[in-house]
Symmetry: C2
Subunit: 145 residues, 2 copies
DNA sequence: CAGGTAAATGAGAATCTTTTGCATTTCGCT
DNA sequence: AGCGAAATGCAAAAGATTCTCATTTACCTG
């Protein structure tokens, strides 16, 4: 069953070691799309795999270099990782409950390219995060007042 | 000369203490618009003020709450602070040299509001950072190859 | 303008996240 | 099966930020 993951790792140019296979599977099987290193580590403990947190960080960083995952720097000084499934998107996140939604807006994508060009930059990446209060949390707040 | 800063602090609802006055002046007088807590601390040391790093963090956080400064979470796990001069803008930053430019694009601003509404979020904030290589660093790279 | 009080500060310890050093283990290949 | 390079685990380190608590300061009152 770890055959598929093994293939993916080899294809990405990484040795198929046990920690890497496990971590990749966790990323693929988690119902959360955005996992912190700590999240991955906890999930590993639950599978009773004996993997150190240092390895989790190392592997996630390698995955990022290999293009398997994206690393996002959300607020609060810690990174979250997300499987690269080919389609770029931006994030809209709730400041109350932490919920994360994804969106893609071609107009904004285009404008960014134009802006980078205007300033003479060779754009390599961009990150757009809209913060707000999600529908559920708005309801909840209304109930209280 | 610290009269003006004192006024600003009072107006923001903060006691006009020496550390706060000094830090506000540093933010106003620095030629860099984006300062990390460490930057502010170093600048304080140079004015031979005896202010601890803990106070720098406390004061900057208060300034943020009071709306005097913005806190941005750039890559690499540390925050930078920037005086709130009334006009919102986004950032474009060079991944080679760390240079930061600012821009404001109405089209993007509008689209963000629309997207937040589509997803049912009450937008409270947003941050857009374009990363790339600035003109100077592109030149430098060309020279080398 | 002295005096009291709550708020603010300094110093260092504590915390949190992430990285590093190094001895040991594992992978991939022969 | 066996070798060498690459990967791992552990613990220690590092960097950023927050907290604790005794001491000091700003501001209000008399």
């Amino acid at each position: 069953m770890s055959e598929i993951s093994t293939q993916e790792l080899k294809k990405a140019g990484l040795k198929a070691t046990l920690p890497r296979i496990k971590i990749l599977e966790i990323l693929e099987q988690s119902e959360m799309r955005h996992l912190s290193a700590e999240d991955v580590y906890k999930a590993l403990l639950e599978t009773s795999e004996d993997v150190g947190i240092a390895t989790v960080y190392r592997v996630l960083t390698q995955f990022e270099s290999a293009g398997l995952v994206f690393r996002h720097n959300f607020e609060g000084g810690h990174s979250v990782f997300e499987l690269n499934e080919g389609h770029h998107h931006d994030h809209i996140l709730c400041i109350k409950c932490g919920r994360v939604d994804e969106f893609l807006d071609e107009t904004i994508e285009q404008r960014q390219k134009i802006i980078a060009r205007e300033y003479g930059y060779a754009m390599t990446d961009h990150s757009l995060i809209i913060q707000g209060i999600c529908p559920e949390c708005q309801e909840r707040a209304k109930g209280k007042e």
